[in-house]
């Protein structure tokens, strides 16, 4: 099981697309930094449909004023929860 991390905006970068292509059922995706703009990207639902567990870092969401645009399908996490995810998922792929 992979922990994908995406830190680039999907509006200007292929990371979201690559992650979707090279992920498998049960993988987790963490959006951080500019990656949190994925929460408002039309292709976000593809990750949900692919049965990935999708997370986004709260600090990055708040800093960018996206707190009112978070879909229910994405779990909002703190840094300690991010660490906990790294414990659960043995490998990271940083896109």
């Amino acid at each position: 099981m992979l922990l994908h991390t995406i830190n680039q905006s999907p509006f200007s970068n292929f990371s979201l697309k690559s992650c979707e292509k090279f992920s498998a059922v049960g993988d987790a995706v963490v959006f951080l930094e500019n990656g949190v703009y994925a929460l408002v990207h039309p292709n976000l639902h593809l990750l949900i449909q692919a049965d990935l567990n999708v997370f986004a870092l709260q600090a990055d969401i708040l800093a960018r004023g996206l707190q009112h645009s978070c879909p229910d399908t994405v779990k909002i996490i703190s840094y300690p929860q991010f660490v906990e995810l790294c414990v659960q998922y043995p490998k990271q792929k940083a896109w």
Partner: protein
């Protein structure tokens, strides 16, 4: 669990360093072991002790040094990346006949082998690029 962190991004030009710092603090807060923080690529610039950000902004170099002091964590910069970008400690300053050193003494200058070693020895290697 034993964690290692790799930081690839320059301070301020990328968020990698700030994210890695928050993550590192969370690792130690959760009582995990932090085996090493390895700075590569532009990440070596986090060791720049000449950085002077405005007083109402976080000084990332200071923040890393304080974190290392309180958590007893090891901060390592890749020597090849560091030399290329002018991050020299006193010894390298002498070796390359330069006039000033720029790398904070809290950062250890070492080889890229330390990144590989971190990947081998730690249970988790988390990269901030």
């Amino acid at each position: 669990m034993k964690f290692a962190i790799a930081v690839f991004g320059a301070p301020y030009s990328s968020q990698a360093s700030l994210s890695a710092l928050h993550f590192a603090q969370a690792v130690t807060l959760a009582k995990h072991e932090l085996y090493r923080v390895f700075f590569y690529h532009d990440g070596v610039l986090n060791g720049n002790n000449l950085m002077v950000p405005p007083q109402d902004e976080l000084n990332l170099q200071n923040a890393w040094v304080e974190f290392a002091a309180t958590s007893k964590s090891e901060l390592v910069v890749c020597i090849a990346s560091a030399l290329r970008r002018g991050m020299l400690n006193a010894e390298e300053t002498r070796r390359y006949e330069k006039t000033a050193s720029s790398l904070d003494p809290a950062f250890i200058i070492s080889g890229l082998g330390q990144l590989i070693d971190a990947g081998l020895q730690a249970d988790r290697l988390v990269t901030f690029n």
